[in-house]
Amino acid sequence: MLLEPVFWSLFSLGGFITAFLFPVTLFLLFFAAPFHLWPTDPAVYSTFVGHWKEPLVRLFFFVLIGGSLFHGTHRWMPASKAVRRKRSSTSS
């Protein structure tokens, strides 16, 4: 397929993005406050809505969400292809 190298590059880029940026983001948003591991709650509305106004923060979430969705769905594709192959081989 002509676009396969492009998809592979984006998959790889998504892998870097998720590996470098996801752990710290998820920790701060979902675990820091409930387990009292951080002095403040970075996810609370008043704090987060203030950060959300900054263009860099918006770009960060755009890249993070876009990269993770591409990486994850591309990971899923070989598995779904294998299931389809198995179904077609058992039906024939």
Binding site: G14, A19, F22, P23, L28, Y45, G50, L56, G72
Partner: protein, 130 residues
Amino acid sequence: MTGREYAWKRRPGWWLRNRRYLMFQLREAGGVVCALYGLVLLNMLVQLRAGESAYAAFLNLLRTPPVLYLNIVLFALVVWHALTWFMLIGKAQPIQFTRQPLPWKVVFGINVLLWLGVSGAVVYLIFGGI
């Protein structure tokens, strides 16, 4: 192009047969979990737009015990995915600054240091510091 005459078969549960296969599958699962978290973050931003009460309700849901415990398991998979990603960089694409490519363990160590640096930068630039 024709398909294989005798399709190669893998036994169900092959990935439970040894620890390496299991770790590999957990890494792959971690990649899919990353996409799920992408959807969670997307929904979080939708709730942020909907207003304070909707956002607070969503955040509380994520922090109630059953969902929180599930989150811990999923988070562990994301961290495993990140660590194994750093491990594979030096193996899949040997980096050659010297006569011999750098050993993968050195590349892994550099990536982990870089990861800590990037995480610190995210804390300060995106979440406003401690």
